[in-house]
Symmetry: C2
Amino acid sequence: MTTSLPWQNLQQRLLEINDLQSAAALLHWDQATYMPPGGAAARGRQLATLQRLAHDRLTDPALGDLLERTWDWPQGSDEAALVRLARRHYQRARRLPNAFIGELVSHQAHTYAAWAQARAEDDFALVQPYLEKTLRLSRDLASFFPEAEHPLDALIEEEDPGYSCRDLKALFSELRQHLVPLLAEITATPPPDDACLTQYFPAAEQLAFSRRLVARLGYDLERGRQDQTLHPFMTKFSLGDVRITTRVREDNLGEALFSSIHEMGHALYEQGIAPHLEGTPLAEGTSSGMHESQSRFWENLIGRSLPFWEWCYPQLQAVFPTQLGSVSLEEFYRAVNKVRRSLIRTDADEVSYNLHVMIRFNLELALVEGSLEVKDLPAAWNHYYQTDLGLTPPTDREGILQDVHWYGGQIGGMFQGYTLGNLISAQLYEALQADQPDLGSRVRRGEFAPISTWLRTHVHQHGAKYTPQELLQRATGSPLRVEPFVNYLRRKYEEIYS
Amino acid sequence: MTTSLPWQNLQQRLLEINDLQSAAALLHWDQATYMPPGGAAARGRQLATLQRLAHDRLTDPALGDLLERTWDWPQGSDEAALVRLARRHYQRARRLPNAFIGELVSHQAHTYAAWAQARAEDDFALVQPYLEKTLRLSRDLASFFPEAEHPLDALIEEEDPGYSCRDLKALFSELRQHLVPLLAEITATPPPDDACLTQYFPAAEQLAFSRRLVARLGYDLERGRQDQTLHPFMTKFSLGDVRITTRVREDNLGEALFSSIHEMGHALYEQGIAPHLEGTPLAEGTSSGMHESQSRFWENLIGRSLPFWEWCYPQLQAVFPTQLGSVSLEEFYRAVNKVRRSLIRTDADEVSYNLHVMIRFNLELALVEGSLEVKDLPAAWNHYYQTDLGLTPPTDREGILQDVHWYGGQIGGMFQGYTLGNLISAQLYEALQADQPDLGSRVRRGEFAPISTWLRTHVHQHGAKYTPQELLQRATGSPLRVEPFVNYLRRKYEEIYS
């Protein structure tokens, strides 16, 4: 990019914000991986300081003045996109009073700790007052954007720009009409036996296998690493340092395996961003939904496909001969694709998963609109699970306390990205398959480079240059559609459940 | 402490500086332990940003105004000490122009990388221009304190306040008069056989043993942890998170063992600081020398003593029965106390160690005074090693390139702390023994709590409240003396080398 003084000044300011945010990300990563218990109190304070300093810089009127200048970058250039995105961040941040940010950041540390305790003790009452404050803060946050059609819009816009509450309601309603009968059909059939997955699998072997696997799928371990944590996530400190975390259960082979592939999908997105965007606001994924499309693409479209297991299963059997030696490929493939009505979103199969998301979306809607109070939330949760999935959580730990999202300090905008990601992943897969008709046979031979190259070319390299809608249009030639996902599910599960 | 508004404001400002420095410390720790290679470039930039922001805050005139107020804290109170120390930090920092700090911070990352390469390739020429710049910057740094008697004084004052170049020359000269003949006497005797230490010792067992050992010696693993690195160090992110690192060599049992005990000694100091000092400038060790006294106390005065090995050796034998089963306690004790003229400071025995330090001190003196040029440094190094230790390094890697210190960005003030630490450790030990005449038999029984309690009471809890001179006087009843150290060496090594 050019070297005019104001442009340098702008880049320097954005880089400083980026450095503070990256430092905060490392403090978070350490908190979730290696930090000893005694470090918790000071760590919360240190994170709040870094976040406050980053926010101060992001809302500095001198940055605003630079952004409001007339920049003559050509339409479609990286620089023009950078200015557009930085303006968006600046203008959003300026809406939020400093006192509000201070209260929010301080509340975040407390509500997370309260949730951890409430979850451990299976006692929603312990976190209820914190969640009430979270709801108040989220409604306050929405109120700083009074021009929005719906208060949820401002919260969604932060994660999935360009999607309104109205759009999502329509989209989810359409998707639901396909999923409910499909799930009913499938669960009317006898389920496959997945006992092969819940034998004893030593942690060290699982970790070594998943590490080799993600490296083979394209994850660059010279620019990343994998560590253990309680709640797996991907994080980035620079384009050269994109890390994933995983969780191992010795009584469940699926946990480390699929969470590793999932987080690797996120990491490939970040590792694939064009190096010249490093340190700018463009050097990140363009939305929650687009990010989730990458993790779900690898986890499900590839990682739960028959060609993938035709290639991978003999290797897995070689590592666990006692456990899997007598389990056929067909049995194993059916086991990792077992569909069932279940209570836990993160364990849900591809068919029912989005119903879990819709329950949360509807609850966010009701809470933010004010038609549901936090005290009535566990009952509402259980009611929806009974209605939509035919199950009532026996404990709040398997119900309202299962997901961290709301307890991180925000209600609203936290879940739609998962379903958007599922839809986008299938639409991308359809476009990829049109470009590479021999996709299945490549996967069967363990050739993943053509896939990651396609994704890098059409999605990753651009970072946040394009809106999610623009990016999807460019990559697939059409706006978001539910058909690719629904067709994918129908085709795959009709075969499995014949 | 009180709640007056200006006092709160002062505390808040100091806490923010502390938070930024702690975040930078975590970025450093990660760089030295887990960071993938691809993260290096951005990490250097992120560290420079945090350091610059901390420096901006430390030199903010509004902080100066607060510090210059008349505070009515009673003489001897923590608050009065805090104001005194914070003034000292502020006034030092204000002497350094922003442009100088910017140049220094940027230079630090480059010179370290150049050293790493020069060391790997054993080629001093690769780092020489960087070291020349380092010398210029260090002389510039000294020049900002023109009132000092000697330019080295300003550099020493930062690490070991209260010791001047003149003091140290006198002290080192006195010590040297004892060490040179003692080393000559000892090395005239046939050396013990230490081949038992250089067998094959698997890394995992070494790490597990050293971890159990440091926990038993008093290191609180709920407020700390141990990880592997290339150059062991201790670091702190809060009083509840004080970490150590170690290096394992499978062909040398001493490496992980003694570096673990050494770093643990540093860590006990930080873990022992009174909790109410958390987040203030008082929550750190009072000087390099006092810090090093703690690491050397545990590593040598305890960790290389006969009573310690009477307790510890059977446990070590149990872990390595093949390697040590037929090695007697006496042989092992003599092996870990083998005295020899050697090339590497960090591997040196207690008797010759300080001669290594004095060589570096004299070279710093000559460089900063301008009587030695960087291009002549390798020759000067080799000359001193021949004169003082009777050896000439066959490679620069075993000579001028061995220590990181100068290549971290400063020449001057970097080494005196090691010898001060050795002297202080023996003086503290003498005072401890006067208080606890049964010290040896306690150690022989593995009772270390009375020792760490004594150190916590007399040294650790105070943090940086007292100057090193005040603290030593309070703990031992006298100013720094060389006799305790010399007497300790004579007594111990005359027995070993009879």
